[in-house]
């Protein structure tokens, strides 16, 4: 595996926000999740539950309920009283409509997705019609006192059941009248105690299922208003409830962190009589399970301990494999850490601030596994707080450590950091170009001369960084065929020649920046070559403060002609001489489409091969100069990867290389760090994939025979980031789960036997 000096970093104090609500897309393969800080995430079932889209939170925009309507439109509502539609292509809140009923506690869409019902603080249930481009208020249903905490439509869309404190009501949608009112209170020795109906579900046979604060799951006949069955599952509240599409299974989540499944089972073989039976209990959470969802193959639960747990139903899974594994997601599937290799700095991204740390150092050496004493402690250099209520989308530090950039939904910030001895001064770069915001990913070039900004509609902006503290917009790359999805991953080559970008449609575009060499010494740009583009070739870009312009290259070597939009339909023609015009920045190639999400990609510094990791754990290597997969990649696809490798349940989040050892690829996910040695044979399914510990015990000759390409280290868990500082120095950023637990409020006290 090779020996590394490892910086084991544990000072990234990230506390992920708890899960507030979940919504499965009806008949779709997506799960929407809202966190307590207002962030909304979308997971794709087909892409192995990859966290496909993240819309960062907002201080004033809490989300209490999420629902899918009209196919793939996502709506959220919260205590601010607004109903918000999310733009899943631009990854931002698109439109907001005031519900006019005070804080909104619950929202539900009807089965056809044309109507939204919201339950408000003032006790009203309001219907909104989903129309193209927004929602329209339709009418109010019968209003009574008491906040509406939960709502459920009857599958035939004729009735709505609404849960409140101490009672539940059934509304007729046509007349808007309350047709049934059922008390669900709880009497202990004639003392009436408040009973909160936390969650409700309306089944097609007229049964209403409620879960309440006394730990009961109750089944009601709505027409007669009678209790049919009552199951006490917990001593504390049952907070959430979800029904499967076939209505034969229910999952409930309690405030003790346990989830239970209820199943509708025949009492006897062959008899029609069926009964709800509480079956499997699961205890994966430590805190309140605020949200549950029931997909066709799995029970999904999210808790205030920030975990999303996907527990597959074994009987529904056809074969043992990736789908049959229990998976727990605590950390985002993208990087929150960036590393300045040369300056040995780490930049940590929190929801509303950034922290810049300098790594500690040691002057001692030791044997394998030894802990070396530090001669200089790690140092917290800068804390950068973002202004305003918006949360940070992305951030990056340049390899030299002198530039920091981050973006929120509406603003882009670039800072110049200067180090004078032990002191650090930070200066905001004025007049950053007005780009189409937000930026979804930021990436500095390896010489720290330019910044790549991933933006909406598949575009990537290139900013040139100027000394002593300025920047200039150079160019915008766009995919030739156009795209509506935002770019979420970037990779640039070490020689500054290539840039790879992945958009939400999972297409990987490679752009050529060959004539775009920014020589540090020259302080300008020198076109080295121009591609053989003919006249009439067009593309769209924005330069400086001016809006969209058309430009074209009339002939090789002559420079560039462009139109500057002056507003009011006026255009000014301008011809830029080739010396100062942007060189022919062009789309180079597209990696063949693969029907899975890209989780990480990187360009090899020497061979300029693009290494791509997909969410189904496949690895590809694409040679950019040759525009085709490399021989090794073809060999991997022919032989197939190891079964254990494919069954891992967290995606690879970062890839890097060792310049001293070109055949090595370094990659990691949350639970392992792997050095992939291309020069060694691939393991077959009979071999042990994680064989490092056994290899250590073997004699040299036997070891040579057992070696295979995957050298996996599971010592560092959970691993948020790993990078190579120089050829034998690694940095590993860990965030122990126990450290997060101590930051959370105390869980409900439960008597545990034997303690």
């Amino acid at each position: 595996m090779g020996e590394f000096e490892v910086h084991r970093v544990r000072f990234f104090g990230l506390v992920p926000a708890g899960v507030r609500c979940l919504a499965c897309q009806p008949r779709g393969g997506r799960l929407a999740l809202a966190r307590t800080d207002g962030a909304v995430e979308v997971y794709n079932f087909a892409a192995n539950y990859f966290q496909e889209k993240v819309i960062p939170g907002h201080e004033t925009r809490s989300v209490e309920a999420l629902c899918w309507a009209a196919g793939d439109r996502l709506f959220g509502a919260g205590l601010s009283g607004d109903i918000t539609e999310y733009d899943l292509a631009l990854l931002c809140a698109a439109r907001s409509v005031d519900g006019c009923g005070g804080p909104i506690w619950s929202m539900a869409a009807n089965s056809s997705g044309t109507l939204l019902a919201i339950g408000c603080e003032d006790g009203s249930v309001k219907l909104f019609q989903v129309v193209p481009g927004g929602i329209q208020f339709e009418r109010n249903l019968d209003r009574r006192k008491g906040r509406i905490l939960c709502l459920s439509w009857h599958p035939s869309d004729t009735h709505i059941a609404a849960g409140s404190i101490d009672f539940l009501r059934v509304f007729d949608v046509c007349s808007g009248q309350t047709v049934q009112r059922i008390m669900v209170n709880y009497h202990v020795l004639k003392v009436r105690r408040e009973c909160i109906v936390w969650s409700i579900a309306f089944l097609s046979n007229g049964t209403i299922v409620t879960s309440d604060s006394f730990g009961r799951v109750q089944f009601w006949d709505w027409q007669r208003g009678t209790l049919m069955e009552s199951h006490t599952v917990s001593t504390s509240a049952v907070l959430s409830l979800a029904v499967s599409e076939e209505e034969d299974s229910i999952v409930v989540g309690t405030s003790t962190g346990a989830t239970y499944q209820f199943q509708l089972l025949p009492v006897k073989m062959g008899s029609l009589e069926k009964r709800w039976v509480r079956t499997k209990p699961f205890q994966h959470h430590t805190h309140d399970v605020r949200a549950v969802a029931h997909s066709s193959t799995a029970l999904i639960s999210g808790g205030l301990d920030a975990q999303l747990v996907i527990r597959p139903l074994m009987e529904k899974v056809q074969k043992k494999g990736y789908d049959a594994a229990l998976r727990k997601f605590t950390f985002p599937h993208r990087r929150l850490v960036s590393c300045a290799r040369k300056a040995r700095l780490l930049l940590f991204q929190f929801s509303q601030h950034l922290e810049l740390w300098r790594l500690g150092s040691t002057d001692e050496t030791g044997k394998d596994g030894e802990v070396l004493p530090l001669c200089r402690m790690p140092e917290h250099l800068v804390q950068l707080k973002s202004k305003g209520p918006e949360h940070i989308y992305c951030s990056c530090v340049s390899p030299c450590g002198s530039w920091i950039a981050y973006s929120t939904a509406s603003r882009f910030h670039l800072y110049r950091v200067q180090y004078e001895g032990d002191g650090v001064s930070i200066k905001k770069v004025p007049k950053v170009p007005k780009l189409l915001l937000p930026a979804y990913q930021l990436q500095f070039s390896s010489d720290s001369g330019s910044l790549f900004v991933a933006s909406a509609r598949g575009s990537v902006h290139v900013l040139q960084l100027l000394e002593p503290g300025g920047c200039k917009h150079l160019h915008t790359f766009r995919p030739p065929s156009g795209s509506s999805e935002a770019v979420y991953l970037l990779a640039s080559s070490a020689d500054g020649h290539w840039l790879a970008a992945v958009g939400g449609d999972w297409a990987i575009h490679i752009y050529d920046m060959k004539c775009f060499k920014v020589g540090a010494g020259a302080g300008g740009m020198t076109p080295t070559s121009l591609p053989p583009w003919g006249a009439g070739c067009q593309w769209v870009q924005r330069i400086g403060p001016l809006p969209v312009s058309h430009c074209c290259i009339p002939r090789a070597g002559l420079g560039m002609g462009l139109w500057e939009e002056m507003g009011g339909g006026h255009r000014w023609p301008r011809l830029l001489p080739s010396a100062c015009c942007p060189p022919a920045l062009q789309h180079h190639s597209t990696v063949p489409m693969y029907n899975c999400a890209v989780t990480a990609l990187a360009i090899h510094p020497i061979t300029n091969n693009l290494v791509i990791a997909y969410s189904d754990q496949q690895l590809f290597e694409f040679s950019i100069p040759e525009k085709q997969y490399t021989a090794w990649s073809r060999m991997v696809q022919n032989c197939g990867l190891h079964r254990v490798w494919l069954e891992r349940d967290s995606p690879i989040t970062h890839i890097t290389f060792n310049p001293k050892n070109p055949s090595h690829i370094l990659l990691h996910d949350t639970y392992m760090f792997c050095v992939l040695d291309k020069s060694l044979p691939l393991p077959d399914n009979s071999a042990l994939l994680m064989n490092q510990s056994t290899l250590k015990q073997l004699p040299e000759t036997a070891r040579q025979r057992q070696l295979h390409a995957f050298k996996i280290c599971k010592k560092f868990q959970p691993l948020l980031y790993a990078d190579l500082l120089d050829e034998n120095c690694l940095v590993m950023v860990e965030r122990p789960i126990m450290d997060i637990k101590t930051q959370l409020p105390l869980p409900i006290q439960q008597k545990k036997f034997g303690t």
Binding site: V233, V267, K268, R278, P281, M314
Partner: protein, 736 residues
């Protein structure tokens, strides 16, 4: 250990020609089928044909499965006649249904199956697991869609489960000695009946659902009302985890004393088969949990008159054991033992043996206690008077003896108390009990000494020792030489305190044999080979109240005391000189006495009713019916004796069947009696047994007469009939 409620007693007279070779262990019956499974791990189903009579002939026999666990907890019958569920030998596989409908495997770990029960009305199976969880399986008719829910309260293995008759509640029990009642299969609704004394091994519900009963590991049955109220407990000899104290006879009560409840000493009365009392020795709370090291009683000794009791308790620790020697004085007022002295760590290591000097004629101050320990010493403890004015006494160490740093393994005093023999591994040392001088040593190498004892009465000059190398040696104390030795692997050596006889139990080729001998002659006077299949652990001679007259020369040595054995499965056995019939007869006599009820209005009514019935019977000449009324003593005994002390059914069966047979000889005798009725009245046919029975009958009738006089309501005709009865010959009864 098959345990279930019977609504009626069925007797299946099963004749399986080709199956008689293997021993059939259990019988479970559904309406049309019987399932049998044997110690060969075979499950066999027998189809029953409908027949009018009691005897059925079952010919269809099929082996259902091999490899079934032999425990009855491993199989249960469901609602469907054909559905049964059982567990494989390794207890990790649950197989449902006849045609292997579904096979469920548990992951290797701590959740092996321990017991199983089926819901009476629904398709639901409850299984208890080694990790203390109860799983309720449903929907198991589908290979994949089966599902289960979990109930968890027990912290240790769930030993048994039982559903209520309606299936609405489930009972479970285990090591915790708590009966748990689960309502509606809910984890939150449960009731407990705690403090049941010891681990629950079996649970059974009565068929009407009003009672449930639990069988405990300490050989006790508890009957519990349906509302979880304790109702009654049936208890004979308490089965403790391990009898470390040996069988000791309390000189005062003649009760057998041994380990009882954990940390207690039980006094068990052999005559009445009940516990006299239980003495708490350890006086610490016992925690019902597996795998805990808790203090337990290991040695006990009584002084000759039963005035003093010495006990040793220890807590097993790997590094250093915790030991306590306690001396208890019998308090006449409270009729119980009172703690007098407690000595912490009397020895550095385990105490191997302990004895009092038994000197009947001497006063209290000569009482000496000797303890032998693995720390290579024996210690002599004497009473010293305390300095306080009350003049109470306490015990302290007087002498410490050792021999070449060998571990002391046994100790015993000679009958007159003048000599103490202590065995040190291979050597027996004899000490003067006054000066504590080492008098002489004996050994019989190779082999360490396992048991030693002195001869008694005429044989008091002999010292007997048994070695673990398989030799029984008898040394002459006068000549200090080996008198004789025999090659015998002796496990137990027990002298009779009232005679010269010594009983030795050997263990050879998987059977125990008994040898009784006198030390002065090397030939045993009684040999009983193949006493039992189990290993005999302990033996004790219990003195009889009065010497029994034993005709047989063979059993002469049993005249003054009775010999009891305890096997390693804790079955208490005794050697009887009489056959089973003989033994049962006297108790039936007692029953007859019982019938002369005290005179209460109810008894009068009852007596009248019974008499009338018997008269009618005789009137009609229903001989057969009559016979039924006068059940044989064996059957009576069978029906009156508590179930837990009855011998096995296979033993009782021939007696029962014999009792139903009408033997030819007797019938002819009856006829003869009828013919010669007048003459034979005074010339009774003489046989001892018959006389006994007729005597009994006379007693009966006199009692009736007495009743008749008191009521004075008999009509003339009835009196006539009564007289007629008296004249009748009942000699035929003797046959039963």
């Amino acid at each position: 250990t098959f345990f279930c409620f019977h609504s009626d007693i069925y007797f299946f007279n099963i004749c399986l020609e080709d199956c008689l070779s293997s021993l059939w262990k259990h019988i479970l019956h559904s309406s049309e089928q019987i399932f049998l499974w044997s110690d060969t791990f075979q499950l066999v189903s027998v189809k029953l044909t409908k027949a009018a009579g009691q005897d059925l002939e079952a010919k269809e026999l099929s082996v259902v499965l091999d490899g079934v666990d032999a425990s009855p907890k491993c199989i249960a019958f469901g609602r469907e006649t054909y559905a049964f569920f059982y567990l494989k030998k390794k207890r990790t596989t649950l197989i449902i249904g006849k045609d292997l409908l579904n096979i469920i495997k548990t992951k290797s770990g701590n959740n092996q199956f321990a017991c199983i029960a089926c819901h009476p009305t629904e398709d639901c199976i409850a299984t208890g697991h080694a990790d203390g969880k109860i799983r309720l399986w449903r929907n198991f008719y589908h290979k994949k869609d089966y599902t289960f829910s979990t109930l968890h309260w027990h912290h240790d293995t769930v030993m048994d489960l039982a559903f209520s008759m309606e299936g609405t509640s489930l009972l479970s029990g285990g090591v915790e000695s708590v009966l748990v009642l689960w309502h509606n299969e809910s984890n939150c609704q449960k009731d407990f009946l705690p403090r049941l004394g010891s681990a629950i091994e079996y649970i059974s519900m009565s068929s009407d659902g009003t009672l449930c009963c639990t069988l405990h590991t300490d050989n006790r049955i508890t009957i519990i009302n349906s509302n979880l109220r304790f109702s009654k407990s049936i208890q004979g000899l308490i089965k403790s985890r391990d009898v470390k104290t040996g069988l000791v006879v309390d000189p005062r009560t003649k009760a057998l004393v041994l380990n009882g409840e954990p940390g207690h000493l039980q006094f068990y009365c052999l005559q009445s088969d009940q516990q006299l009392f239980s003495l708490d020795i350890v006086q610490r709370q016992y925690i019902h949990q597996a795998g805990l090291n808790q203090a337990d009683l290991v040695k006990v000794a009584f002084s000759a008159q039963g005035k003093w009791l010495a006990t040793v308790e220890e807590r097993e620790e790997v590094t250093d054991p915790e030991l306590q020697l306690k001396l208890w004085l019998y308090d006449e007022e409270t009729q119980s033992f009172k703690l007098n002295t407690r000595i912490n760590m009397p020895h550095e290591d385990h105490i191997t043996d302990m004895c009092f000097r038994e000197m009947d004629e001497l006063e209290d101050d000569s009482l000496i206690l000797v303890t032998a320990g693995r720390d290579c010493v024996f210690k002599v403890w004497v009473m010293v008077e305390d300095t306080d004015p009350e003049g109470s006494v306490s015990w302290s160490c007087d002498f410490v003896g050792s021999y070449h740093n060998y571990q002391a393994t046994n100790c015993c005093f000679s009958e007159d108390g003048s000599l103490l023999a202590v065995s040190f591994e291979e050597t027996v040392t004899v000490w003067d009990s006054i000066t504590w001088d080492l008098k002489c040593t004996f050994c019989h190498p190779p082999g360490k000494i396992r048991n030693i004892c002195f001869g008694r009465l005429t044989c008091s000059k002999y010292l007997i020792g048994a070695t673990d190398y398989g030799f029984l040696c008898c040394w002459n104390l006068l000549s200090c030489a080996l008198e004789w030795s025999a090659h015998l692997n002796v496990l137990v050596l027990q002298p009779d305190p009232l005679s010269e006889h010594i009983a030795a139990v050997s263990w050879l080729s998987k059977e125990s044999s008994l040898f009784v001998f006198k030390p002065n002659e090397p030939r045993p006077i009684y040999i009983q080979r193949n006493l039992c299949k189990e290993k005999i652990q302990l033996a004790a001679f219990v003195p009889r109240d009065e010497p029994e007259t034993i005709v047989s020369e063979k059993y002469h040595w049993l005249r003054r005391s009775q010999l009891f054995f305890l096997t390693d499965t804790q079955e208490l056995m005794t050697l009887s000189t009489k056959s089973l019939e003989e033994r049962l007869t006297p108790s039936s006599k007692q029953l007859a006495v019982e019938e002369s009820l005290p005179v209460t209005p109810f008894s009068l009514l009852l007596g009248k009713h019974r008499r009338q019935q018997s008269h009618e019977d005789i009137d009609l000449g229903k001989q057969v019916h009559n016979k039924h009324k006068q059940d044989s003593p064996a059957v009576k005994e069978l029906l009156h004796t508590p179930a837990h002390v009855l011998p096995s059914a296979s033993f009782l069966c021939p007696i029962f069947i014999n009792s139903l047979l009408i033997s030819k000889e007797n019938k002819s005798a009856e006829e003869v009696a009828d013919e010669v009725e007048m003459e034979s009245e005074k010339t009774e046919d003489d046989s001892d047994e018959e006389r006994g029975v007729t005597e009994m009958e006379q007693e009966d009738t006199s009692a009736m007469e007495l009743l008749g006089e008191m009521t004075r309501k008999l009509s003339k005709s009835q009196e006539k009939e009564l007289r007629k009865i008296r004249k009748m010959d009942y000699s035929w009864i003797s046959a039963f």
